[in-house]
Symmetry: C2
Subunit: 283 residues, 2 copies
């Protein structure tokens, strides 16, 4: 079975032979960009509208908060005063929206290679992309590999909100790139990077963490549920030169931001670094 919509259902089947199926409604947007196929379709379910890239699930209106709250708030809340934030990828805007909830933030740079993703999400996924029009946000339609090369001591937080390590996202999973990301951090800076499914992408996870551990003295993993990704379970890397995960949580920001979240709260944050045995062995 091919990934994508056929006979009224969207499928994403992993190479392992299992995955997700969603009853698809009207296709609102479907175009080939310079980098990938960008598609947004409606569903009749609580998932609402769905964004796929090259027929792989990126996000849905109905469950996007599972991903965006986790990639943003776990590192942000562990930083004493995150003022400047770089989001790499993340053209749908969901990560930027969550970052902007932190009142310390003065500047957010979104570096997304594919302008078509940004434009389509602004038009068709307004509840996700709403933060992109905030005056604190600089949008760069640019390859993050080039952008990050000469950045030194510039960001408190870098969030790598990339696609999978094949296709346009491939260069975002290299030692050189991670080294440049590390150099772009200010003192006490933290990186969070999406790091695939522990259940589905075991080989990809192993390779990625081997590289990250070469570059970052601190490299931990946290996980949470994503209902519409095959396997329903996702991992993110928490990396830093000096900051250990759970070494600090800003209590005031935490209490305030929890009120705006569907997932995130302090207990849930503290629980995220407890990993199943099979994932600990993998890392």
């Amino acid at each position: 079975m091919k990934n994508g919509i056929e006979n009224g259902y969207y499928h994403e089947i992993t190479p392992a032979g299992f995955g997700i199926a969603i009853k698809a409604g009207k296709v609102l947007f479907s175009k080939q960009s310079d980098f990938q196929k960008v598609e947004i379709f409606e569903t009749e379910s609580s998932l609402g509208r769905v964004l796929t890239l090259d027929d792989l699930m990126m996000t849905t209106e109905g469950d996007e908060y599972h991903y965006h709250e986790m990639i943003a708030h776990i590192p942000m809340m562990n930083h004493k005063c995150p003022e400047s934030v770089l989001v790499i990828g993340g053209g749908d805007g969901g990560t930027v929206r969550e970052v902007l909830k932190h009142k310390t933030v003065k500047r957010v740079v979104l570096c997304e290679i594919d302008g078509m993703v940004i434009d389509a999400c602004k038009k068709y996924l307004p509840t996700i992309s709403c933060g992109l029009s905030d005056p604190k946000v600089e949008i760069l339609v640019q390859d993050a590999i080039e952008y990050i090369k000469d950045k030194k001591n510039e960001f408190d937080i870098v969030l790598i909100d990339s696609t999978d390590p094949m296709g346009p996202g491939e260069g975002l999973f290299t030692e050189e790139f991670y080294t440049n990301v590390k150099n772009s951090l200010k003192e006490g800076g933290i990186v969070a990077a999406q790091s695939e499914s522990p259940f589905v992408n075991k080989e990809e996870i192993r390779k990625m963490y081997n590289l990250l551990k070469k570059v970052f003295p601190v490299c931990s993993t946290y996980t949470s549920n994503i209902p519409t990704y095959p396997g329903g379970y996702w991992a993110w890397a928490f990396c830093s030169e000096t900051v250990q995960p759970l070494s600090y949580i800003d209590e005031d920001r935490c209490a305030e931001i929890t009120k705006t979240c569907k997932i995130y709260n302090k207990d849930y944050h503290l629980a995220r670094f407890a990993l199943p045995n099979y994932l600990k062995e993998l890392l």
Copy 2:
């Protein structure tokens, strides 16, 4: 799209219009019992063989430990000396296998209404059903609603490893049944019950916990990932007259059993009761 196998793929699509798809191989067993359709099929993937009842996913060889370790070890490790255990449903035997890992256990009663499930799993899913031949295990092919009626002060642990609250499992989600389960507990006894998907089955969860809270002074919820259930996220109820969750963990048993588990460890146990905001609001 109908649930079940068609054109080489098994689908389970929830009423909300999304779910899972698995490339199906040979069907090893498919029969209508007095209660439900029992089916076991092969896959070419790491999921191995798959058990479905009435075309709904029950378990797979490749991810069954996600469910069975959680329903068994969270309550068992919270009990100082679990000797007698009742498993309701659970005809595949996976829960019994995990229960038997606790060296304190002297007697396990499996009360499964459908003998065909037990027989098919013994034949086709030996890595899951292996515990059923242990001499400590009494297998009763009987309706648990009847069995539990006159039981008083008999079990340290009761595990409700049922199907969904429709079909043969329906009577296992009533106030009368929960009251009888409570009466069957010894002092310090604990019940764990599968309680559906927080993301997919919001109404069912709300109803179930409203009933449980009427019956049990202690009623908490814990969650974990199940890769092959739609939404990938599952909840279990932890109920007791007197025992709070996380009030005790048997350190020695915990260390020993962790060595045999793919998921379970102490940190993972401690993290399980931290719930996302949307689930806390639901309960």
